[in-house]
Amino acid sequence: MNAPTPPRRKLSLKQRHALLTRGLGWDTTYQPMDKVFPYDRFEGIRIHDWDAWEDPFRLTMDSYWKIQAEKERKLYAVIDSFAQNNGQFGLTDARYLNAVKLFLQGVTPLEYMAHRHFAHVARHLRGVGPRVAAQMQSIDELRHAQTQIHTISHYNKYFDGFHDWRHMYDRVWYLSVPKSFFEDAVTAGPFEFLIAVSFAFEYVLTNLLFVPFMSGAAYNGDLATVTFGFSAQSDESRHMTFGLEVMKFLLEQDEANVPIIQRWIDKWFWRGYRLLSLVSMMMDYMLPKKVMSWAEAWEMYYEESGGALFADLARYGIRPPKHAGVATKEKTRLSHEVWCIFYNYTHAAAFHTWDVDTEHKDWLAQKYPDTFDRLYRPRLDLWAEQAASGQRFYNNALPQLCTTCQIPMGFTEPDDPTTICFRNTEFAGERYHFCSDGCKDVFDPEPQKYVQSWLPVHQIFQGHCGGAGMEDVLRWYNLNVGVDNMDYAGSPEHRQWVDWMRGRRIAAE
């Protein structure tokens, strides 16, 4: 007997994907499932049927490898060519790179953290579908970290502030903002992590970082950054879809999940939004040529896209994030308040700020007609005058930090942009301070978590940061004093840029 195999049938993408993924898992019997999967129950999320999970992208490893290899070949061709051709000379201005410094110092480590923790989620959820999506995301995130390092490696050779980004991430005051954000997420249970990172951050908020800012990189001649940015973002659209699917899946599994998830949405919207306030400064102040203002980006990517999203989720009983209205009120002041913080403390930062020129101020006035001339132009003018007379303003004392977001407490009352917003709470006999109701609302339900916050200013006072003097602390940061920090005007990389541009004129003649 030599029976031939049955006639071949072409499988659709959906069928092929289902066959190649869904059946892989099984219910263990030699070891209890709760021991094999110890972490997916304690948060109180109820899952009745993991098979109800729908994979929006039907990607198997064979297609994954082919698509991703294609992306990598293209990206590294650009990175190589950028380095060989000294692409830095095509930038609009070297000041622009200060935004890229902040990116390498503060965003690349988050990509890495996401890599590690998506591996955790991919191991520890009971359902095969989300585990496959999570593990692809895990290696994607490693890709993002590594391609960012490889791209920026070229800038590190010629510019300051890039050279010790990883050392700085664990230590420098403003980097404890992204660090504490992501450590908050990875120390949460797997479902909260997914709502925090896949939904609130990837789906609702990261567009604001990766889309308009990267377009701005292109506009400012940074072909290297826009290439890794958009190449990463092409993975990101897969991650966003995963985030939305996680959300809908959890909501559909059990009504009891709804209030838990609503609380996480409220918390992580605010956590993510506060983190992105750094991006508002990058967009409005650090791009020499601008694509759109922070307020416009917020309208396009939060108010419109987020509005449609939350309208869609309303049928599950989900409402928009509790403090989204405050974020919208803040859109015309956020970048100015954050720039103020970094202008105050540029002597302690591994990137430069500078006095804003008139053309740029006029652009800000046009984009922020209700606030800029009234509230912010006078302070920029004052600083410029002080700098012109050789008295560039640096704040001599350390700032009060918000216990939750860890940003200096420079944000104003939702209905009064002239008065700093102070909130506080008491827990177990200790006082804790917050920049906003949003940050206080993160602390209050989980005080045992946030009493652990490693607040840089307090750590300096406790003697854990190299010494009591500013110079001691900066040395502990591995910051090259007088090179990485201080105003851009007169900095070594400013002088270098001026030399280069002079050389370019000579070469052209």
């Binding site: 959906k14 929006p56 992208f57 990607l59 567009n207 990766f210 092409s234 990101e236 659209s237 939305l244």
Partner: protein, 90 residues
């Protein structure tokens, strides 16, 4: 049908003109906004990319999973199979 917008943002590549042309042809209500290195497409309710339409305009067989090389952001629920790629609000 709902009129809330869905949206796709595409990276500008040598292939994006064909992709955008296919999208415009298949989604008469689509609105195209161009930015440095990116193109944002908004459309009420649903936006679909047909394999056939893109293939015709590219002059080669285009696979739906190649969207992953082009797309940098989206807003809406995704549905993907061999012949189409769609984002929609329900």
């Amino acid at each position: 049908m709902t009129t809330r917008d869905v949206s796709l943002t595409l990276n500008v590549t040598p292939e994006s003109p064909a992709l955008v042309a296919a999208i415009e042809a298949d989604n008469p209500q689509a609105r195209i906004s161009r930015f440095p290195s990116m193109i944002k497409i908004d459309c009420p309710g649903r936006l679909v990319v047909h394999r056939q339409s893109v293939s015709e305009r590219l002059g080669r067989e285009w696979e739906v999973q190649e969207m992953q090389l082009q797309m940098i952001s989206l807003s809406g629920n995704l549905d993907e199979d061999d012949d189409f790629f769609a984002v929609a609000w329900r």
